[in-house]
Each structure stands twice: as C-alpha cells, then as structure tokens.
Symmetry: C2
Subunit: 747 residues, 2 copies
C-alpha cells in the first residue's frame, strides 16, 4: 500500500546539526556518548550490494497472499535472520482473501469493445512475463456481480464530485460509475458510488495522475504505460482493517468468524480497476455535459459526464477462500527492561512482484536486522526488547499486522514503547509521519544521517528543500521553529492497528520525492523497473536502514524514553485552530450560499444552453463551544513544559516508574468507545478519514462531525478529546513529580 | 484581433437599477427625461434578423486586406449607410502588408515529416472550402528566412520561460524555438526567442489552451480541430502599431516612407504558426529534460524540452507589397456642438471569413447606424457630432485606425470627447474596459440594457456573476462599491491609437463568457460555425447595438460631458498600491534568493540525475520614493470630489467652456516624450506591456522599469506620472470653478 507522500514540512533553527558532543534526550552525558558510538558502528554495516540482492531475491516471482513464493519469501527471511544468530519465528493466521474467478467488461453501445483486463508483458523486463503466477488485475473485496448499465464519469468519485454531478442534473442511479484513481483512496470510490445508487464501479488510471503526463512511460521511462493497471483493495477499511470475518480479534484457529453475508466491509457493488487503454473507448463515447475544468483527465479528447450512449456489461466472480498468512517476527531481548518493547515493521507480501512496494522497504529492514546481529556479536545489548516484524497480507487489508496486533493486543498495550513502520522507499528527501510525542526524537535522528546525494545531514536537506518551496509567509515560521514538523498519519500501511486501535506511539518513515511516478500495484513494479529508474544504487535503501535502525537503538537504550510533549501540544493547538476555522468557514459558506440564493445569483449565472440545478437554502449551523479543547490544550502545553524542566533537572537519570508512565502516554489519547460509527478506531487525535480512506483526519471525531454537518454530536466529541488531553497532562504531571522526587537511579 | 477577455469585476450597491425617473449625470432633469425617451426608442430598432443577414453578407468570402471582398465589403457598408440617409465616405490608405509566397516546414531528424501548413475544409461548412481566396496560414510581418536547426520547446515563450530554461541548462542559441500560443501575445514570442539567440520560431495551438481540452472540436462542437491554425500578426506593435514604414504619420500619398531595412517592427527571425497536428511529430520526437509541470500541454505524450533529436528546415518568403485600406467613415453633425466629436468603431477586415472576428461586432455597429438614421428621421438630433468608423486592416497591425488617427491627429486631439470600440461579440456577460473617467458612465448605461437570457439588466447580471466567483475576502468589497470597475486597456484592437497615442478617453465593449473557445483567426471562424455555436440567435448582437448606441447618444447629448473622476482617482490609488507592493516584492524576492544561496538551498535541492543551474546572487534594488505619486493621487481624489460637488450644484447646466476643459481631461495624462524606448505610446496610465503585447501595464513607465529592474529610471517616471495626475487635478479645479462662477446656461 502507499503511504501519504507529504514531505516533512520544515520548521527549524539551524542548531546542533553537527553537534557531536551533544547529550541525547533521555540520556545522561555518559550513556549518550556510549550510545552514539554504538549507533555509529551500526550505520557502517548496511550494504547497498546486499540491499540489491535482497530485492532481487524477494521480488523474483509474484508473492501475493496465498502464493507459493509468498510462503517461500517468509521462510527465506526467517532463515536469513537465524543465520545471523537472531531469534525469530513465523506466526501464521488464516484470513479471507478473495481472488478472481471470472472477470469481463464489454462495451455494448455505441460500439462494441471488449476490455483487455490484462497488463502486457514487456520484452526488456524479464519478470513482467510471469503470467502463470501473476494475480489478474482486480480490486480485492469487491463483491461478485453481473450488471449491464450506462456509464457515468464521476471524476475521482469523492462526495464533492457527486455534489457537482447534482448541480449538473446528472444521477448515477442504476448506472456504472467510471472513476479515475486519485484524490481519495480507491475503496472510497465504490462506497460513495453505491451511496448514490450506482450498480457498479470502474476505476481507471488516467494519464493525468499516472502516466505520460509526468514523464516517459515504461520501458522508456518510469511512468505507467497505457496498459498498466493499479490493483488494490477496496475493503471498507475506514470501518475496520484486517480479516473481515474476525473484526477486533486475531484470526487464529478457533476464532469466531462472521458469516460472509454479515461482513460489513465488503463493497456494496462490483468494482474493477482498468487501464486507461481500456477506459479510453468508454470515455470517448460518452456524451452529455462537458466536464468542469477540474474534472478533465489527459486523454486526447473532450471528457463528457454522460450518461449515454456508453453502455457496458460488467461481470465479476471471485473465489471467496481463506488463505494463510506468514508474519516473520524476530526478537532481541532487552538486557535491562525486557518488558518494554520497541517494534519495527515492513510488509513482505506484494500485489505482484512488488520491488518498490514493499521490497524497497523490506530489504533495508532485513539489513537492519543483520546489522543488529553483528552489533550483538560485538558486545552491544539493547536495554529494551527489540522486535522486528516482516508482515504478510498488508496489500489486501493490513491483514498480517492487524491480526497479529489483535491477537496480542493486551500485552502490546502493556509493553510497547513505539512502533516504527516503513513500506517501500525511494530516492530523495526523508519523510516521516506519526505521533507528535516522537517529533523531537525524529529530528534528532535525522541530524545523524548523511544524505547520500548532497552529503549534508538529511535534516538540513529537508529543511532547506522546504524553505525553497515555501510561500514568503511560511518562511519566517520555517526558519524559527526548532523541530521540523512530522505529518499526522492516516492509514495505508501497517502502523494502523498499532496507532489507531491500540494507541501505540508510531512512526512511518521513508525517502522519496526524486523518483516519483511509477508502477504502483502493477506487474511492472519489479526488479528491472526499480533498478533502472528508482534508487538504482540502493544508497537511499542504506539511508533508510541507517535511519530506522538508529531510531530502534536509541529508543531501546534510552534511560528515559525520549518522548517530548511540547511539539505534541504545539501541534494540538494548530488542530484546534483549524477546527475553529473549519466550523466558522462552514457557517460562512452556508450563509453566503443562502444570501446568494436570495440575491438571485443563480438566476444571473444560469446559461440556458447548459443544464444546471441551483442549490437549495440550508439551515445555519449552530455556534460551537471549543472552550474545553482550548483549555485542555493549554493544560497540555503547561504540563509538557513542566515535564521537560523536570527531565532536564534529572540529567538523564530516572526511576523505572517514569518509563512505565511514558509507555502509557499515547494510550491516554485512546477512547475504548471508538469513533462515531467505527468503534475499532480508538485514537482521538489521528484517524484515516471516513471519506478519504488513507488521508488523515486529525481530532477526527470533531472534524468529521463538522464536515458531515452532524452538529448534534460535536459537543460530546469535543468533551472526549478534551478529557483525553487532560489525561495526558495529568500523566505528565505525575511523571514530572516522579522525576523530581526520586533522585537519579538507573544507568 | 482579440480583446482581453476579463469580465467586469463587480463592485456595486444595488441602487438605481430600475430607477426610471433618475436624472442622468451631466443632464438637467428635463434634458434627462427627453434623452431617456429617445434612447428607449433607439433600443427598439436593432433587429437580430438583420444582424444575421449582415453577418452572412460580410463573412461570405475571405476579406483580408488587399482581397477583392475586403473592398467589396467596404463599398457595401458605405452603400448601406447612404441608403439610410447617412453621410459617409471611404478613406483610403496605402500600407505595407506582406503575404506568403513560399512556406515550408520539414522535420529532417529523427524521422522525416513534411508539415501540412493548411487547414482542411470541413464538408458541413460551406465557406471552409474557399481555398482560392483564403490567406495561407502565416504570421504577418515575419521576415523571410531559410533556417535548418534543432528545435527547443520554450512553453509560451515568455521571458520567465527563458529564465526557467536557463535553470535547466538549456539554450535556444542557434535553435528554432517551438512555442505554444497563449499567455503572451504571439508577437512577443519571436521577439524574446530572438533576444535569446534563436534563429527561427514556430507557434502552435496546443489543445490545452485551444482544442479538445475545453470541449468538442469543430464540426461536432465549437473548439479548434487538430488541423486548425491561428494566423496573426507578429509585428512588434508594443513599439508602434500601424504601417511599419510610416511611424507616427498617416500613410497617405506623399508620406515619407522608411526603407524596409530600416523598419524596426518586423521580426528579427522567421516565424510561422502551425496546427497541433503539425506540431505533434516535432514535439513527440524531442528528448532532453522533461518539462516542468506548468509547461505541459495536452497532447498525449510526455513533453520534453530538447534540444535533440528534432531538427527542422523552415523556409519562408513573402511578397513585401503595399496594399490599399478602405476605412468607411460616417458622420452625423452635432446640432449644438459640431466641433465636439464622439467616435465609434469596429473593424471590418478579417484573416479569412471572420464571422466572429470581427463581423459579430461590425454587424451590430452597422445596426446602430441604421437605428440612428431612423431616429434622425423621427426628429432626433445629436448635440455633438457622431462619427461611425468601420476600420480596415485591423488584423495585420491596427492599420486602418492607426493611419486614420495619425492622419487626423491634430483635429482629433482638439475635438474628440471619447472613442467607443468593439471587436467581435458573443453570448453571456457584458465586459468593458477603458478610461476610468468613463467607469461611472458605463455603469449607468448597463442599468438600461436588458440581458436577453436572464431578463435582468446587464449591470445586475454581471454584478451577481462576479459575486458568485469571488473569494470570501473580495465579496464584501464587491457588495459595497457603487460602480462596477471596468478593466484597463492594453492593446489588441482599434482603440490603441486613440487611447495610447492621442490620449482620447476610450472604451472597448462586448458580450461573452458563455461561448468561449473557438476558431480564432482560422478558416472555421465563419457563418456556419458562428450560427451553430455562438450567439446563434443574435440576441447578444442586439444587446451590443443597444449598449454601444445608447452610450453614443448619451455622450453626444449630455449638456455636461458625463466624465466622473472619483472612480478614476480610486483606480489610480489601487495602481499606486500595486506598484509599491511590486517594488517591495521584487526586493524581497532578490533578498530571499540571495539568502537561500547563502544557506545552501540549491545544493540541498540539487538532484544529481537532473540538470539544474543554480542562480547567482543579485544586488539588492534601492528603496524607491513613491511619495510624489501618493501626493498626486490624493490631490486627484480631492479635486474629483470638488468637481462632483460643483457639478451637482450646477444641476446639469453649464457653460460650454466646461466641456472644452473636459474634452482635454484625458489628454492631461499624456506625455509627448512617450514611454521609455517607445515614444509612440504616450499615455502614462495605460499601455500594452512591452513583454505582454496585448496585456495591459498600468502606470507603465514605472511598472515596467521595476519589472525590468531598470532602477535608475524609476524616479523620473514617477515624476512624470505625478505631474500628469497633478495636471488632471488642476484641470478639474478649473472646471469646478467654471461651473460655480457661471450660472446655468446651455440647454
């Protein structure tokens, strides 16, 4: 799956970048010096040649869930880990994973066209021809279906696109919605289409987002060719990810399974992904209104909305089998605090060969494990327990990580310090998203990693790159904040269960920005393509190993867990400001529209030669009480500063009870009642959007209630979040007290 | 030629819209009532059926300068005018007008392609096949040339595009620049290309701006088809328009002519327009860097900058002949003030059949003349002299209007109250640009014209449409200003000589916005196309007749010329604010870039796999003294208010001497020394941009000096403009004094 591609925005003073004699947060002077030496040794080990070999081996054949090579890869990873003297095992689960049995798409009018539904092999690319093992192009967790209906072009298929359709007087009722990939996560498209009465959904890759618009297409360049198709899951993961038949519990032998007809996360209508080569005849034949400017794709003809005269027959039938998952889990027991766990993960399964997604992340993770194995032999021992996970089944529905987390939920809640994820890697700038209590920590590590191209530290590179892109207004801010901000996480990779279900402080890491575009979820995402167009010499693979590995070591060895809450409090303040603005803007928008209806604007702009339905007046939303959120976030700011003062005074020495508190700090932000209509999602600060799928909604209970005009639940959601922030402030006050009252102990 | 398409931005109180008993500005109660009655009678006369017939006749055959049908049209117009009892004559001039003798374009490498260079006839369209009379596709005033060179894609070919090329490390030296139409006026493209060392220039119509991107192509829809070509002049008109061989004087028999080799307004390199069908093989073969996102057109492949391997041979040879022009001029002598002239114009020549450009404007102008003829028979007599001009030779270089204005410059300076231009017309919203002393007047007339579609007055329709499009920030402003703003005029039509050379208060009018896209300067701009896709029932043609005709009558009959200077002063204040911001922004931009160079930003963002040349440090511009402009514009505001007070007190009765002053008011804004490097352009407030061609630069002497970093001349330009504004304020003070001292006389 794909992570959000936002780069780190950069706010920082140019301080401490090359400060080698600094004391790490949570460390004493002495423990800091020793830690920095071990980390330095660690970073010398990861080897681009091995990263290349790993990728070649792991992406040599298609390795989706249930395939022979998926199991083979898991066993090979296990063997590698063991060969380096590490303790590891494979944990298996058994989950629903539908695969295609019958697929067909035919245009019946105005002309006949039978869709290819297959990505052609490319002669130069040796693995693109492994037809026998490739999963056909399909969207997993679409229901079976056989529908014949007219086509309506719905742009990206977001709720706003359907509002625009309504303005044009066009309905998808009884029609097949033809949506382009982009803007929202794919699984949202059939959901919203079905909400509006569509009987089927086709999703295609328009060259505007994914193809020749950005550059040369494969094999001449890295971009998606005309026959390329984006596979992918369309399960309703914003409700819950993981095995659809075992929500909230691990899919282990004996687990109670929902019957298929009671599963709520399958699509309501059949859906299939197609290439733009297959979409072109359908789109070109459409008539009706010309699309609004923002709806235009880049195929060489005018886009029309329809309906008419394009009519298609879509037929889909799946094998509704359960398949085995193979999670590989490696553990290095902590020498001092074995019950405090730092966890790392990247998935190993792919849609096809998956060189970029996920192997460009899996391979560096494996190099980290090898390097840690070497350090152990040199005498290093982590104070905390380190766990490395190589997940299976991420692509269909975060299956491997979700079932593992659900199976071990209680112990993970109790023991886990943090989870560090990656999911593919590329060339360019480091990007990091996650819990803001780790923001300062991320900044510290970035200053210790050398960028392979610019030779400056990656922190400096990202900071300067952001300055170069910022508006004049943003730049002063960019130059004055000590830490670069990390972005908030939505969903789309294996951190989801850790962060959103358990409330474990999480990070998602990777490099990118210089090798964009690609072959996402296609047969062309393979070793040939990656080694021709992406991080071809694997120096950014090494950088990812160095970055994530340094983080794991630093978190595992810190006498006091190096969370910092000032950045978190800062960030919460910006969210509260955003929410207040969102509510005010919603109110102003409705008021303005009502005023314009009264003034006669819609009569004035009506073009008699174009269909246009004027909007109706809406009742004005109530004013909302944000005071509890403002008070609580101020409390958090105060408590964060007090905790920092106490930590400085403690000089990196602290009682173990402080760490026990800190481990629970992210859990304070969880509410076991969950978010409205989706109890599995329990984090009150971060969640994937109900209508964005991957894209984050921060303070989601409040934000989505406002966005969806559910005014009556806003107050309660504000109360819940305010209480969570107050719990966090209280925990910090207690931790500060422990630091102050007990004199230095520990190492 | 094309006018700027900006709609009126709308700032207005909803007052007086249906106020039938109002007193017109410059009129007494009594004269106002009588005027409104005559105007009402006038507006009942223009007839859509006649507008359609006029268009069919005038666009029946190609009628470019020098063609048989151009002369035939002029004679037919003359005959029509005379048949309505009007006095009219044809005034002829003799000017340079090159036409193609030899044209060829061939791609030599990497494959052979011979460009078609011809627009194909369309079976359904009867006049598109008049091949014998059609001007071939070419750019008039290109020099002869025979060049073989590699091609470089230069986007729109603006100065900023060449800066971007420089950043990419690409030079056009010795190359042929391939530019797309759009952003700047076409004539700028070869100018800037030659400045950078290109040896030739090709300009093509990318479907991104002009073709299938916006809608269906002809004959299925109104958009340019793949073989469509935009003809057009590339003379360096920002230096001076009109006959290149007689700058500043009329091209009458005996006028001294510059030898061709001394003419400075021909291009420096050969240039030719092509269709995207002909551009496609050239563009597709280009390699080199992938273009920046904003450079992408909409052809279905990735765009590359080049150079290599596309190499072409361009061969152009022209007949450098002088051709006759036929301006048709009709006069209705003023009953009271025959020496005060109100002038109306629209051209009649076209590039080919020109149904839209210009006949959709010529035809309504002719209907106005017919209606005025009828009013005369009913007993109406204008107080001032009314002159209707039907210009020839607008397309090549504003030839007919410029030579006429230059020939009659002295008397026009002395007598002309205002010039009202149109140049084509369409369906939708009224747009008006021009002298801001006429802004209030335009608003008044707009309230008396009924919009054919919405049935509301056109003032209300434009105002509401602008509200619907405005940002929330702009809306409060939009709802609070009494008058809708009119835009400032650059160039691109026949008002240029009146406004920019003489300083005659001018307006440019038309309807549009609902039938955009088209066949600009193509064989498909003809009667078939216009009557299928544009103002098909000619109701907006009637609205244009009603609008311009009402303006002519109201200006001709007003006891006091209804200029209002408060809006002008307001507008000047916004220009001064813009200039201050421009200077501050330029300074900040240079400072920021210098800072970023020092910080290492360019090392940080360098991608070793892409060519990129970092900028060098620049010296900071000086702080500039805008105080004289601020003082003078405040003076103008004060004097405008004092004049308005005096006018109100005079109650629409005033001595003739006031009108003599008012006639000279726009002339106060002229400086006979002209703008830097282009003395022909003498208006200090409005001019076409030196590097935009059509697009306006307000307070151009100051603005362009800042934009071009010519810091040393800014002070002098500020002084000149300040003095002009002070002259205007002084004139208003004198007019106010005359109004106050002399008791009511006049009508």
């Amino acid at each position: 799956m794909r992570k959000a591609l936002a780069l780190l925005s950069v706010f920082a003073l140019n301080v401490g970048a090359a400060d080698n004699i600094r004391t790490l947060r949570g460390y004493s002077e002495q423990t800091s010096t020793s830690e920095l030496q071990w980390e330095q040794k660690f970073r010398e080990i990861p080897d681009p040649a091995r990263l290349r070999e790993n990728m070649q081996r792991l992406s040599a054949r298609p390795h989706h869930v249930g395939s022979a090579y998926d199991k083979d890869n898991a066993e090979w990873i296990l063997e590698q880990l063991k060969s380096w003297g590490l303790e590891a095992e494979i944990e298996t689960f058994d989950t629903l994973f539908p695969t295609p049995r019958e697929r067909s798409l035919e245009m019946l009018t105005p002309t006949d066209y039978k869709a290819r539904l297959e990505e052609p092999a490319v002669a130069a690319d040796p693995t693109s021809g492994q037809k026998d093992e490739q999963l056909p192009t399909y969207n997993a967790f679409s229901i079976d279906g056989d529908v014949t209906a007219p086509v309506v072009y719905v742009n990206y298929g977001t709720p706003d696109d359907y509002k625009e359709l309504e303005r044009m007087g066009v309905s998808v009722k009884g029609a097949i919605a033809l949506a382009r990939y982009g803007q929202s996560w794919r699984g949202i498209k059939p959901t919203v289409a079905a909400e509006h009465g569509a009987v089927g959904c086709l999703i295609y890759s328009d060259p505007h987002e994914d193809g020749y618009v950005e550059g040369d297409v494969f094999p001449a360049g890295p971009m998606r060719p005309e026959g390329g198709v984006q596979r992918g899951s369309v399960m309703d993961m914003p409700v819950y990810p993981g095995d659809p038949q075992t929500p909230g519990v691990g899919a282990v032998p004996g687990a109670k399974k929902l019957p298929l007809d009671q599963v709520k996360t399958l699509t309501k209508i059949p859906v299939m992904p197609i290439s733009y080569q297959d979409a072109e005849p359908l789109l070109k034949a459409l008539t009706g209104e010309t699309v609004p400017a923002s709806w235009r794709g880049s195929l060489p003809f005018p886009y029309h909305v329809g309906p008419g005269p394009t009519k298609v027959h879509l037929h889909l039938k799946f094998n509704w089998d359960r398949k085995p998952l193979y999670d590989v889990v490696m553990r290095i027991k902590g020498a001092k605090y074995p019950d405090e766990w730092v966890i790392r993960g990247n998935h190993h399964d792919a849609w096809v060969n998956g060189a970029e997604d996920p192997i460009s992340g899996t391979s560096p993770e494996l190099e980290e494990a090898r390097a840690l194995g070497q350090l152990l032999k040199q005498g290093w021992k982590p104070d905390r327990t380190i766990i490395y996970c190589f997940w299976d089944g991420e692509e269909p529905a975060l299956l491997g990580s979700t079932e593992w987390v659900e199976t071990h939920a209680d112990e993970l809640r109790q023991h886990t310090v943090a989870y560090i994820n990656s999911d593919g890697n590329g060339r360019g700038f480091m990007r990091a998203g996650g819990s803001h209590s780790l923001e300062n920590f991320v900044n510290g590590v970035m200053k210790d990693i050398t960028d392979p191209e610019s030779k400056m530290d990656v922190w400096k590179r990202v900071r300067l790159a952001d300055i170069s892109k910022a508006t004049p207004e943003k730049r002063a801010e960019l130059r004055s904040r000590a830490d670069l901000p990390i972005f908030a996480l939505g969903s789309g990779s294996d951190y989801t269960s850790f962060l959103d279900h358990l409330g474990v402080a999480s990070l998602d890491l990777g490099y990118g920005g210089e090798d964009e575009g690609g072959q996402y979820h296609s047969i062309y995402d393979d070793f040939y393509w990656y080694t021709h167009f992406q991080d071809t010499d694997f120096v950014y693979g090494r950088a990812l190993s160095q970055t994530a590995g340094t983080m794991m070591m630093r978190l595992a060895d810190a006498p006091v867990i190096p969370f910092q809450f000032g950045d978190f409090a800062d960030t919460v303040h910006t969210y509260v400001t955003e929410l207040k603005k969102l509510a005010a803007d919603e109110r102003a928008k409705i008021k303005e529209q009502n005023d314009e209806i009264d003034e006669g604007v819609y009569q004035a702009i009506a073009d008699p030669k174009k269909k246009m339905v004027a909007p109706s007046k809406e009742s004005l939303p109530p004013y909302l009480n944000f005071a509890p959120l403002e008070n609580a976030s101020d409390e958090l700011t105060r408590a964060a500063a007090a905790y920092d003062k106490a930590l400085t005074a403690a000089g990196g020495n602290a009682p173990a009870s402080v760490n026990a508190k800190l481990i629970q700090s992210e859990r304070m932000l969880v509410d076991s009642r969950g978010l409205p209509n989706r109890p599995w999602f329990q984090h009150l600060i971060y969640a994937p959007g109900f209508y964005t799928g991957y894209g984050v909604k921060t303070i989601p209970g409040v934000r989505e209630a406002i966005e969806q005009k559910q005014w009556t639940i806003v107050d309660e959601q504000i109360t819940r979040v305010s209480q969570a922030l107050q719990r966090e402030a209280d925990l910090l006050d207690q931790a500060a007290k422990q630091l102050a009252s007990k004199p230095a102990s520990g190492a």
